[in-house]
């Protein structure tokens, strides 16, 4: 599948790779340059491949409360909240963000590869009075990320944006279209996710580039999220475990009953054999997903994501490792392509200077 911006990516000379069934740009100028642009300026990412579901009706809130790990009842209108969609056995079907538009109307923003399965699962668990609509095909999404994002978006659309707090959103007109703009993202920097009609994708994209946003691809998206310790579905999260060893207690409200609750409570109370931890490699040589982690020569875990981290200036990785090794300072080795790489367990995130949570007015 292709996003509505595929021709724009080709025209910019992007390298296109398959990702979750989509042909996506992995880089334009280069991953390091795009990463730096996001940390220090402003970058725009095509995230049209992601899914948007609308769940509405008098029973929508109660249905979502049962489907999602995050508390839905306390999400205020204009607020969004991150959490998980679980199976009965606690396995993670997806990580997603729930937006509240009104007492009875919500959006779920889901990953590209999991969208069809999520849609089936959610639909199968809704009350008769709840309406489900998959808005994904008609909806374009652009992530504008970086400390000067507000100025870039205001210039691109010749408008003033409202002051939005972190994980708050507004429905507002941009270039004559009703758009949803949220102060969220996947990079650790100040910025927005913008949802708008897919037919305007090229126009919106070009406006943002002309206003100073650097086009950035999945390569930089991955190094940026890794540095701030955000999980990537299929790497840190999957149906093979509950979210507890990745998130500990975060994004899960065990005071309500949700699908997968029993498994989650079991993992919290009995603790897990392995937890997600950060590793800082001794050299710039990167560990990669699937590499074995060892301690004193014995099997002690597996790497889920690894890369050179440009803002940290070191190779870093996330890995599920034995519970007793998760204290910062513990020493392990990573077996990577025939080499044994020394690494130290460190606390997440690796990059602590992100601007994402800054004051609503933005850095500009």
């Amino acid at each position: 599948m292709r996003t509505p911006l595929h021709d724009e990516h080709v025209r910019l000379g992007a390298r296109i790779v398959p990702f979750a069934g989509w042909d996506m740009p992995v880089q334009y100028a280069g991953i390091l340059a795009e990463h730096e642009a996001t940390r220090t300026g402003c970058a725009v990412f095509d995230t049209c491949h992601m899914g948007e579901f609308e769940v509405s009706g008098p029973t929508a809130e109660a249905d979502l409360e049962r489907l999602l790990t995050q508390r839905v009842g306390t999400i205020r209108e204009g607020q969004c909240r991150y959490g998980y969609l679980l199976r009965d056995d606690g396995g993670v079907l997806d990580d997603l963000t729930c937006y509240r538009f009104g007492p009875d109307r919500f959006w779920l923003i889901v990953n590209a590869g999991t969208r069809p399965g999520d849609a089936d699962w959610v639909r199968a668990h809704l009350s008769p009075a709840t309406t489900f609509r998959d808005l994904s095909d008609a909806t374009a999404k652009l992530d504008v990320q970086g400390p000067v994002s507000r100025a870039v978006v205001e210039r691109a659309f010749e408008t003033r944006l409202p002051d939005l707090g972190y994980f708050r959103f507004a429905t507002l007109p941009l270039a004559g279209e009703s758009c949803v703009v949220s102060r969220t993202g996947y990079t650790g920097e100040w910025g927005y996710e913008i949802y708008f009609p897919a037919v305007r994708a090229t126009d919106f994209w070009r406006r943002l580039l002309e206003s100073g946003a650097a086009p950035a691809g999945l390569g930089a998206r991955d190094t940026l999220r890794l540095e701030v310790g955000y999980p990537l579905y299929g790497h840190e999260l999957g149906t093979d475990r509950t979210p507890v060893p990745a998130a500990r207690g975060a994004f899960i409200d065990v005071t309500k009953r949700f699908i997968g609750w029993a498994a989650v409570v079991r993992d919290i109370e009995e603790s897990c054999p392995r937890y997600l931890a950060g590793l800082r490699l001794d050299s710039r040589r990167a560990a990669r997903a699937g590499d074995a982690v060892k301690a004193d020569g014995a099997d002690a875990g597996v790497v889920t994501s690894g890369s050179y981290a440009p803002s940290v200036g070191a190779a870093v990785a996330m890995a599920y490792i034995d519970a007793k090794l998760t204290r910062p300072g513990a020493r392990v080795t990573v077996e990577s392509r025939g080499a044994s790489l020394g690494a130290e367990v460190v606390s997440l995130p690796f990059w602590t200077q992100g601007t994402a949570r800054g004051a609503p007015a933005g850095a500009s």
Binding site: R15, V26, Q27, G30, I31, L32, A33, G219, T223, S283, R284, R285, A286, R288, S307, Y308, P310, A315, R337, A339
Partner: protein, 128 residues
């Protein structure tokens, strides 16, 4: 894609420049472009004895890792420590400052087994 006429090449994208029995080796412009931003380089040690097609070095970019093979046999006489500190020299100047190591050849005839610029260019994939 820059493929200097005077160099010799391997199918694994190393280039070789022979002067006075010493082969200087690096990775080609095509290889650096495919790998993109290089972030890590590991080089052989001086005085290592090597055989043609041995794995001698590792180059890594943000997204990919790749082995570099010995194009010819002999003894390592020098490794380019500058690229260990600054891997991006391989991106900016693959045939110059981005060279990787030098081999004193044990059999100078091995150069004849390597591709010339035309042959190397012919076997590269079409531009995307």
């Amino acid at each position: 894609m820059n493929v200097p006429r005077e160099l010799r090449y391997t199918s694994t994208h190393e280039w070789v420049r022979v002067r006075a029995g010493v082969a200087t080796v690096g990775i080609t412009d095509y290889a650096q472009a495919q790998l993109s931003d290089l972030t890590f380089v590991e080089l052989p040690d001086k005085n290592d004895e090597v055989n043609a097609s041995d794995e001698l070095a590792v180059v890594e970019s943000v997204k990919a890792a790749s082995d570099v093979y010995a194009p010819v046999s002999g003894t390592i006489v020098e490794a380019n420590e500058r690229v260990v500190e600054q891997p991006d020299l391989i991106n900016t100047d693959p045939y110059g400052e981005g060279w990787l190591f030098k081999i004193r050849m044990s059999d100078t005839g091995e150069v004849q087994d390597l591709m010339d610029a035309d042959q190397y260019e012919e076997q590269l994939p079409e531009e995307e």
